[in-house]
């Protein structure tokens, strides 16, 4: 299993947000500012790599019937560790992300990867898969949060981009904006994928 393939699978082909369509709650909630989106992305990537590695390590020892609760315990442990370290070393980000840090436990992406990949593959591949999915997730968060912050407060990473005469559209910082923007982004991604797929079909036809 080529590691680079595993990595890019997580970023593009099976991007958790744009393709697999899981892990949505956090995406909508924390993307009001680019730095929050980035922080959340990094936190989730950390938990993903950690839990994928541990699940891969114990995959031969854990009986099938209790694998889901066992995975949940592993994930919850990593989330709590991330929580503690954020609270100790990055309190402002901890306060900004609020309840969505402990909610990383129920972020479907992590359990899904543990169940469908890490429990069936070796250590290195699982770690890279965790990294790839995490990067894909973070990219999606960054795109959405940069858009929302720019349209909603005129800034990116707290740097004011437009002059004071720009009236930001606050709706983008509020729930409706999040839903609508994400819907449009997925729609754009879908349309790119559809064009790609029909191009591939045409190429196969011509090759015959």
């Amino acid at each position: 299993m080529k590691l680079s393939k595993v990595f890019f699978n997580g970023v593009v082909k099976e991007n958790p947000i744009f393709v697999q369509l899981i892990g949505m709650c956090s995406v909508l909630a924390v993307t009001t500012a680019a730095k929050n989106g980035l922080a959340m992305g990094l936190a989730v990537t950390g938990v993903l790599i950690g839990s994928n590695v541990v699940v891969s390590l114990i995959r031969k020892v854990v009986p099938n019937k209790i694998r889901i609760p066992a995975f949940i315990v592993v994930i919850a442990t990593f989330v709590t560790i991330v929580e503690m370290f954020m609270k100790a070393y990055a309190q402002d980000l901890y306060n900004a992300l609020g309840i969505f840090i402990p909610l990383i436990v129920v972020n479907c992406i992590i359990l899904a990867r543990a169940e469908s990949f890490a429990s069936k593959h070796g250590l290195l591949a699982s770690a890279v898969d965790g990294l790839g999915m995490g990067v894909g997730y973070t990219l999606a968060l960054l795109i959405l949060s940069i858009l929302r912050e720019f349209l909603g407060s005129g800034s990116i990473f707290d740097i004011q981009m437009l002059g004071p005469s720009f009236e930001p559209a606050i709706i983008f910082l509020m729930p409706p904006g999040a839903f609508i923007l994400l819907g449009i982004l997925i729609g754009i991604f879908n349309s790119i994928r559809n064009k790609q797929a029909s191009k591939e079909v045409l190429q196969k036809e011509e090759a015959r």
Binding site: P63, I66, A70, T77, M84
Partner: protein
């Protein structure tokens, strides 16, 4: 039956290992967390009462004496410059729009509000969350404690502060809290 016990045992072991890892992690970080909390609190007090250099928290009995039934005022600190008492800081919890909102107010001995700072909130970004921005909090600075504070679009008078656009609930919650603190200060602490 044997199988169930075996499964439960394995799950228990995994959980026990997890719990011990967390206990270690907790002991590594808890001091740092307490320190970070303390620093954040000191910084907040310095911001709202910048004429003070040191702060001394009032103990529970004294606090209860002063606030009486208004238990949403959760902390009062005396501010000292050297050995002179120069003012007070008050921590108060009110009901914001998205949830409970905690903020701090500083009042100087000569009867002026020296500043406010929102500590914890769940307000909407771009609306109620603007209560953390200087254009709002600065409008409270220097206001006298002897008259009721009101929030308006363009504050001019001595007792007017900046209202937050489209965030009436947040603005009112904070202004009501400040007025309560004003009252308590005038009645109990301004001798």
């Amino acid at each position: 039956m044997n199988e169930t016990i075996k499964l439960a045992l394995i799950l228990f072991i995994i959980t026990a290992v997890a719990a011990s890892v967390l206990a270690i992690s907790n002991s590594v970080t808890s001091e740092r967390i307490a320190e970070a909390d303390r620093l954040a609190s000191e910084r907040a007090k310095m911001e709202v009462l910048d004429i003070a250099e040191e702060f001394k928290q009032l103990d529970e009995n004294r606090l209860k004496e002063i606030v009486g039934d208004n238990t949403n005022i959760t902390e009062i600190n005396e501010g000292y410059k050297g050995s002179d008492l120069v003012g007070y800081t008050f921590n108060i919890e009110v009901n914001g729009y998205g949830g409970p909102l905690t903020f701090m107010t500083g009042i100087s001995k000569d009867g002026k509000i020296t500043g406010i700072k929102v500590l914890v909130h769940e307000e909407t970004p771009g609306l109620g969350a603007n209560s953390t921005r200087p254009f709002f909090t600065d409008s409270f600075k220097g206001k006298p404690v002897d008259s009721e504070i009101t929030a308006v679009r363009e504050p001019k008078a001595d007792n007017e502060v900046q209202a937050l656009t489209s965030a009436t609930v947040t603005t009112n919650a904070i202004v009501d809290g400040v007025n309560l603190i004003r009252q308590i200060y005038s009645e109990k602490l301004s001798n």
